[in-house]
Symmetry: C2
Subunit: 597 residues, 2 copies
């Protein structure tokens, strides 16, 4: 990914320093000597309420120079502010690109463990906690990540009519009302006059969703309210911390919590880019301004015994997916984790489709990264193998090797192939990379109370999902992928879902069935088969009504075997449009039971 | 200024290519041979309504390779879209930094004339027309710059009460009303569903100002309405293209035009950075998303026979200053130009103060660029001479030489000096550079109908302002400078203002007098003298009431001689707080006349 020049030059330098200092893994197996451990306290990184950012920068530099393999934090609360943080322009798939202040810029590191020994890392303002880039064998362990002022805000619903909704905003979410607009703020007093260049610190919101305050989950059948890029909402100021949202057709249950999602995903908790062998062990993410952990182009990622969970009585943890992986390779292991109250799915593992704009020569095509949050993605290298895919029917009809490419800007690339592009290629088709698709293990996790779905399985490597408990308002497991809107490459080839408990899922609006096997196929449905070889065995489905269990679309090879269905009275029944099993445009589907309802 | 790595590397390469190809000025004097002229038509840059951006990129590359000294456009209308434009991260003083799509990226060029031969250059969307960086001897001539959809919007005032104002929005300013919010748009239809990542193309606004529709100038005594970073305004949709702005306390005259200023300055028309000998001749700027021409760290700039003026019946030209110059050197010549209807001053020529955060060693200080729109400014080099200035009283109390500096991020720098910093230095003081302050010539220009002031004179080089006609709602000429809010280094040392006509100025709220000599001095007024040696001679002041002619504060040396005052009835008189001449905390001030009123 691009970044300011000075950064990159230093990165190259750093790279070689590290290479020179890298200690062979064989030696590292032995117990670490004192010299290998760098205690941050020795560099004035102190849990005293002050800004630890500048001292940490020095400690990390020292880590590089000394080749220390462990950065140790004495247990305590460490505060990090953006003022003196390193600045890097980052492209972060499915989050927002931009020039970020990064507190832990782990760029070009090898063999480093960051051990918080139970510490809390508290971040202030618009700041990015962790970047791991062009690094290998990095372990993050025994600490929590939180923000003192979260990027989202919350309010308690008092009442509503067709013209608007009255809410009360708790103390921990600062706001102001000016010129009839509600703006969430940092709570710090602005100085100086308001001018044509005034900005101030605005916690802009572009989304609202009702949560059940008692159950601490999305409200029964609650729908998203989306607003086009806005910072503020029209309101009438009422007494105390009450305002009347002057927005028609908002509905909600008095006493429930209205969560105002941010209008950005600028500050995910952990960004992993072009790295390898990254391990998360006993890390808690209370909040992030975007996804919790975003891995892109990274080889071997393990997340074990971690938590994504809110702090301070907040309803929300991360403001987007808990974890998300794009064009990764090797393995992805999610084991023994808790993922709760994030404002989107627990995970999504997929690739990226770039759209073909046009053929510019027999062996040359102009391609575009269409999805705004894929811009700048480091998709191709000379030698990369790509597949050609029809845009509306997702049929992979050819392959090619990238000879060279010219990056026009973050959005467009001119690609030259070793040989001619397929004759049938037309504008609107897509390309994606053929690679060492990761082997996915998702085991012994609890996923609950978040917005939308549980796991999005869109990876062609062997995928095993077992011994997890799902309580999601949408589909617990979703298969998708399309080449015309999200541009996410998916299509499993070997997927097992076994011994999981699906606990009263689908009490919300996000999905057709508890296990929903979709695909963005709008043409040639009779012939296009996207997901393959899915086995669903020995799972328990607890359902509060005739909840659709399985939706299957354009699949070749699916087995439903020995699963148990139990009825509960957790929620009132809903009018369901679908049967327990819905199978369309699919081959070799075997279901060992009749409709249980 | 920083930029993505690939850019900079290529820039270095380009630099050497150019150096190799540079043709000595002596030879250039002779009439150009055909080979020196590159006709864009030969590179498929055609005035046919299509996107000329990619073909122009090729033409500019060819220009580099061939060392052509003239890029010639056959007369016509050329359209430029952002899709395939080059992308560069730009820090632009007094405008907004960011990753820009630049249509004319003149980086590392020497000896190039771009001759439009009367062509119109029309830009579409969020795009930056011209960047001249690390270049020398560049001439821009015979073309106009406009945007098909301006960054501002306009509406006609129908009526108002204390709760809001009813307006009607002309066809040429597309908008939509969703969820009670008015959002100005591109007018192009959005495709796909609205999601958590939707943005769409929003022409966000953060400022409103009333203009007199008949006189085509800011309405008599109209005030700015500022809104903190907002994209949209709360409204009630009425019939046709009418809306009720649900914002309390808006006032205006029915039939007048309410101008919605953009909430950004992302796309100034021309950005000049670290360049020399830049000439504008017969260039018309109809619109820009920020300032018209912004020069920074540039040596010798001439703008002659140019126009900043609106097109298509719009009330506004550029959405900020017509021209603006920061830390420039050599000369700045503004001659024979028309500057009208821009949303801020005609020019401002100043330096930058960085605030001292603290002394970190006897010869080391941490400094901060405080003003958001000065972030990333390339202020210092090893060897740069700096002055130390008291923050609230602007007293320059010492000097030093920069030995080295460490850029922490775009906002903070650690500066090491050759010798110890002055003992009296305290946090809150400022530093600015001592340099070859430009000689300023402002002659034979017409300045009228814009928001705010005419010329801001804050340059220590010899400054001559003569034979201009000013019709500005605020001060025609303003001297300022401060080290605690705008952080603009000023303080003239030799300034002549002669033979100008001041035509019914100060019919608005921006200034205390037609010539307003201010300074950001809040302490030690008795001793601090900021502006020096100002001569105001042989000018004509046409005034519609007892308009204050001159305000003088903390000045040493000012002469008012042989100026004529004539009364008009252009506007109804206003209650004035000040006398014709107001002189405070100043020395050596000579005024050759009594109060003319």
């Amino acid at each position: 990914m691009n970044r300011p020049a000075l950064k990159t030059l230093s990165k190259v330098l750093i790279g070689s320093i590290c290479a020179a200092m890298a200690i062979p893994a064989s030696l590292k197996a032995e117990s670490e000597s004192k010299a290998d451990i760098l205690n941050v306290a020795d560099y004035d990184v102190l849990p005293d309420g002050g800004d630890c950012t500048p001292a940490l920068r020095k400690a990390l530099e020292k880590c590089r120079e000394s080749g220390a393999t462990t950065l140790l934090f004495p247990e305590g609360r460490y505060d990090f502010h953006p003022d003196l943080a390193e600045e890097i322009y980052l492209y972060i798939s499915n989050n927002d690109e931009g020039l970020k202040r990064v507190v832990f810029p782990l760029v070009g590191f090898e063999n480093l463990k960051i051990d918080g020994q139970g510490s809390e890392f508290v971040f202030h303002g618009f700041i990015s906690p962790f970047l791991v880039e062009d690094s290998s064998n990095i372990t993050l362990t025994n600490f929590s990540v939180d923000f003192d002022r979260p990027f989202h805000s919350e309010a308690i619903i008092i009442g509503w009519d067709e013209d608007g909704m009255e809410v009360e905003i708790p103390q921990q979410f600062p706001y102001e009302v000016r010129n009839g607009l509600l703006t969430f703020t940092s709570g710090e007093k602005e100085t100086g006059p308001l001018t044509t260049v005034s900005k101030g610190t605005v916690y802009g919101s572009g989304h609202m969703l009702e949560f059940d305050t008692e159950k601490r989950e999305t409200a029964y059948m609650a729908r998203d309210y989306y607003f086009k890029t806005t910072a503020s909402y029209p309101v009438k100021k009422l007494d105390g911390r009450k305002v009347l949202l002057r927005i028609p057709n908002l509905v909600g249950t008095p006493g429930n919590t209205l969560v105002f999602g941010p209008n950005h995903r600028k500050h995910p908790g952990f960004v992993l880019t072009r790295s390898s062998d990254i391990t998360f062990e006993s890390v808690t993410i209370h909040h992030a301004g975007g996804m919790g952990i975003l891995g892109q182009l990274t080889h071997n990622i393990s997340i074990n015994n971690c938590k994504v969970t809110p702090s301070n009585g907040r309803m929300l943890s991360t403001t987007a997916d808990a974890t998300h992986f794009v064009n990764c390779t090797g393995y992805i292991k999610l084991t023994n984790n808790l993922f709760e109250n994030q404002k989107d799915d627990a995970t999504n593992i997929h690739g990226i489709y770039a759209q073909v704009t046009r053929k510019t020569a027999p062996n040359q095509i102009l391609i575009q990264l269409k999805h705004r949050q894929q811009h700048g993605f480091d998709l191709l290298r000379p030698g990369t193998e790509v597949e050609f895919v029809t845009g509306k029917s997702l049929i992979s009809y050819g392959r090619g090797i990238v000879k060279e490419f010219n990056r026009i800007n973050k959005e467009y690339m001119q690609v030259t192939l070793e040989e001619e592009a397929p004759a049938e290629l037309v504008p609107g088709d897509a390309i994606a990379t053929i690679r060492d698709y990761p082997e996915v293990t998702i085991a012994n996790n609890i996923i609950r109370n978040n917005r939308a779905r549980g796991m999005l399985l869109n990876c062609r490597g062997k995928t095993v999902v077992e011994n997890n408990t799902f309580h999601t308002p949408g589909a617990a497991i979703l298969f998708e992928g399309d080449a015309f809107f999200w541009f996410e490459q998916g299509g499993v080839t070997d997927c097992v879902i076994r011994n999981n408990i699906f606990e009263n899922c689908l009490f919300g609006v996000w999905g057709k069935a508890i296990i929903d096997v979709k695909a963005g196929i709008h043409e040639r449905k009779e012939e296009s088969r996207y997901n393959r070889n899915i086995r669903i065995e020995d799972n328990t489905f607890r359902v509060f009504d005739d909840t659709p269990l399985l939706n299957v679309y354009c699949v070749d090879g699916l087995t439903w075997k020995n699963n148990t269905v139990e009825k509960t009275d957790a929620y009132s029944p809903t009018p369901r449009k679908f049967d327990a099993f819905n199978v369309t445009y699919s081959d070799n589907v075997s279901i060992d039971t009749k409709n249980p309802y």
